[in-house]
């Protein structure tokens, strides 16, 4: 085999994957998602959620609150580790702490939006609901198994969780419009994808450019690869410009807005608008289509600008932009590198391997998905292009979900971190439960995709819930030994 030629092929595969991702999927979903994540971090006081996670909160409050904290507060590890330790040691205990830990990486806004656009809305929803059910389930099981150790913590007061904080209505509306922006750019419903008008511009050479791009970045749609269109090339250039101007405009935004900030915002706006257009190069020139989402995105952007001006304070606007930019700086470079290597990897993996291992929804296939998830560590969000590659190579959606459930929750790094806080025994018990639950999730979702009758899925779920309920009732009967925290004199300070 020609070594140089092989290397060029690999490099081309990586670059092609990168270009295709930047041009096609990323923009209309990830750009708003980063701004939502920034908004959640900057505008929602953590106390508004953590006050439900105190020692005295009843179980039906603390578990959902832990899940909410996971999806709203924890996009980055700065929050995950201290909050996890806080809930465990000084707050609601190991159960809600585990729920929080499980839910945070799988169901934050960035992960969900990205999964929905790159792989499919069905998997995004499966990820959300199953993470919720499993997060709460595993949390309760852990609380049962380690009931005694947990009771020792009960004697401490929970001043840490006494802080109160509310979210202003203006902030809520602002965040909702951001979500609307995300949805209007990414939802695939007729109202948004139908074309409501088009213009033809007599620009020659666009078609030639596109053909040149296809030659430069060759692709094979049968393997799930995508090419770079002329529109994609424009978007990549715009993204690079945003990156350059954000370095001057967002890096120091906490000290105040400057000219570069305005320019960066203008560039981001135009990027979103260009991405929402449809462009078709033809022999005579360039045809630009205006689909419904173009108008929806425009409307959402206008409302957002108005809300940001009137409803947010100067300080909140700065914080919002800074937090968004911080997430971009933290996550985006690793994502780019990850996507590149996924492209390289795709050239090396034979579809037959994936096909034979996890091509069908079998127990072995699901276990393989989980094992890969546990032993591989990928930076935040990189699990998504990896999963997409497996899908393109013929992996069944069931094992794929099993992989997606296991990968972000479990990595050697996170296991070590968790065991430092709760002890090795508890950490590995947690890992075992996650592996078991992920395999079950993959099997159930896979059989649903295969069109198994509702009866069979209901039987699976019922069996699963039955085991859980049995365990809980046994523990409930023995729960009398548990020391009552209320009997402790609590001093209010």
């Amino acid at each position: 085999m020609d070594l140089i030629g092989g290397l060029v092929d690999l490099l081309q595969g990586g670059l092609g994957n990168l270009a295709a991702y930047l041009a096609a999927h990323v923009l209309l979903c990830l750009v708003p998602a980063f701004f939502i994540a920034g908004g959640l971090a900057a505008l929602i006081p953590k106390e508004s959620v953590t006050r439900f996670l105190g020692r005295k909160a009843p179980r039906y409050v603390s578990y959902p609150a832990a899940a909410l904290a996971g999806s709203v507060l924890a996009v980055c590890s700065c929050t995950i580790v201290p909050l996890f330790a806080g809930i465990y040691k000084k707050g609601a205990g190991i159960g809600p702490a585990i729920t929080f830990l499980f839910f945070a990486p799988a169901a934050n806004i960035l992960a969900l939006a990205y999964t929905g656009v790159a792989i499919g809305v069905d998997l995004a929803f499966a990820r959300l609901f199953l993470s919720l059910a499993f997060g709460v389930g595993i949390g309760m099981i852990m609380a049962l198994i380690f009931r005694r150790a947990d009771a020792e913590h009960d004697r401490q007061t929970d001043d840490l969780f006494a802080g109160r904080g509310g979210v202003r209505r203006g902030v809520v509306i602002f965040l909702l419009v951001l979500v609307a922006l995300l949805l209007s750019g990414t939802l695939k419903i007729g109202l948004l994808t139908n074309t409501y008008g088009q213009v033809s511009l007599p620009i020659a050479g666009v078609q030639g450019l596109e053909e040149a791009l296809f030659r430069l970045v060759p692709y094979d749609s049968s393997r799930g690869e995508e090419g770079v269109t002329a529109q994609g090339a424009v978007l990549i250039v715009l993204l690079a410009l945003i990156g350059l101007s954000a370095w001057r405009g967002f890096e120091n935004v906490l000290e105040g807005f400057n000219r570069w900030t305005g320019m960066t915002l203008a560039l981001i706006t135009s990027t979103l608008l260009v991405a929402a257009l449809g462009m078709e190069p033809g022999a005579g020139g360039l045809t630009i289509r205006f689909p419904g989402k173009f108008f929806a995105v425009t409307l959402a952007l206008i409302v957002l600008a108005w809300l940001a001006r009137t409803r947010l304070t100067e300080h909140e606007r700065r914080d919002w932009l800074w937090e968004s930019w911080r997430f971009v700086k933290q996550i985006f470079p690793l994502l780019l590198i990850g996507v590149f290597f996924v492209g390289v990897l795709r050239q090396l993996i034979r579809p037959e391997w994936i096909e034979s291992l996890a091509g069908r929804n079998t127990l072995l296939g699901n276990l393989a998905g989980v094992a890969f998830g546990v032993f591989m560590y990928f930076p935040t969000l990189v699990e998504v292009p990896i999963a997409n590659m497996f899908l393109g190579l013929g992996m069944h959606r069931g094992p794929l979900l099993a992989y997606l459930m296991a990968d972000p929750e479990l990595s050697l790094q996170s296991i070590l971190l968790v065991s430092a806080i709760i002890g090795r025994m508890k950490a590995w018990t947690y890992v075992a439960w996650v592996a078991l639950f992920s395999t079950a999730a993959g099997l159930i979702f896979g059989s649903w995709v295969d069109g198994a009758g509702l009866g069979r899925i209901a039987a699976y779920l019922a069996g699963f819930l039955g085991v859980l309920a049995l365990g809980l009732s046994i523990a409930g009967r023995r729960g009398g030994e548990r020391p009552q925290p209320a009997s402790q004199p609590v001093t209010d300070t």
Partner: protein, 81 residues
């Protein structure tokens, strides 16, 4: 002399907090001892739920966000009594 501790694993926000605190201290003409705490075990000894945290003379004054220089100036003045 004041001891100012910055709790955080070294993420960009912790660096911002340190910069803000240093500006506030030099604005007041204070001499302060700046300590960066990056070890999670030590960070968790303080009652905070998210980093970055700012600690003045062993009192946590702020956590989970970046304070403004004016806020830090007030806290420093309070700590001086």
């Amino acid at each position: 002399m004041l001891t100012i501790k910055i709790l955080g694993s070294g993420c960009p926000n912790c660096k911002k907090v340190e910069a803000v605190a240093r500006q506030a201290a030099s604005g007041l003409g204070l001499e302060a001892d700046f300590v960066k705490v990056t070890d999670y075990g030590k960070i968790l000894e303080y009652p905070i739920l998210s980093t970055p945290g700012l600690v003045i003379n062993e009192n946590v004054v702020c956590s989970g966000r970046i304070p403004t220089q004016a806020e830090v100036t007030t806290w420093l003045a309070d700590a001086l009594g």
